[in-house]
């Protein structure tokens, strides 16, 4: 199934892209996707402990499972205002 993954701030710099499309297997978790991205983009490894995930614009836990068409995002701790 197909998902979209977005990256922000330091995570975008580590990956070198704002957004990618990925094909993943059924029942894959957010953590599985993150680990496969770390293999492709080793610069993400050092950010792993500071990684926050969102799924379809809501904060998400790394053990959540994905479904077709999901929009996943990875980013560092937030700090606006």
């Amino acid at each position: 199934m197909k998902i979209t993954v977005k990256f922000f701030a330091g995570h975008r710099d580590a990956v070198g892209k704002e957004k990618i499309e990925m094909k993943v297997k059924k029942d894959v978790t957010i953590n599985d996707v993150l680990n496969s991205l770390i293999k492709r983009h080793p610069a993400l490894e050092q950010l792993k402990d500071y990684t926050i995930a969102s799924l379809n614009h809501n904060y998400a836990k790394l053990n959540e499972k994905l479904k077709e068409g999901d929009e996943l995002a990875f980013f560092p701790p937030v700090g606006g205002g």
């Binding site: 977005k6 995002a73 980013f75 937030v78 606006g80 205002g81």
Partner: protein, 121 residues
């Protein structure tokens, strides 16, 4: 009301619109780019999620406090020292609710809104 924008805003104009017969207090917070030996700040935002999170914050604030109106404007893009970053304005019948709501929104926004600052040297 929530607004995510590149453009500057007029705090006076916004707070003036919040004056209604039932309103006895308007409290506003304006976040500004401070000169920490920088030229400015780049504000990055996950726009769709930021709008959703700010809307949730507004709804929570309305459940907790007795407020009349809430306005949150957050800018993104490149900002210079002295530029406005954010406006949070709250109107209420009484000052305590307006102050508390405004403080709650500022604190929570910093904790949950997917927004990042990058200094421009």
């Amino acid at each position: 009301m929530i607004k995510i924008t590149k453009r500057d805003f007029s705090p006076d104009e916004i707070t003036r619109k919040m004056k209604k017969p039932e309103v006895g207090a308007v409290v506003s917070f304006i976040g500004i780019v401070r000169d920490d030996n920088i030229k400015g700040m780049k504000m990055e935002m996950y726009q769709e999620m930021a709008e959703k999170e700010l809307k949730k914050l507004e709804n929570n604030a309305r459940k907790i406090f007795d407020v009349n109106d809430v306005m949150i404007i957050h800018r993104y893009g490149r900002l210079k020292v002295g530029d406005n970053i954010i406006l949070i304005a709250v109107s209420s019948a009484h000052r305590k609710d307006a102050f508390r709501t405004c403080e709650y929104l500022v604190d929570e926004l910093k904790r949950v809104a997917p927004i990042w600052k990058e200094e421009i040297k």
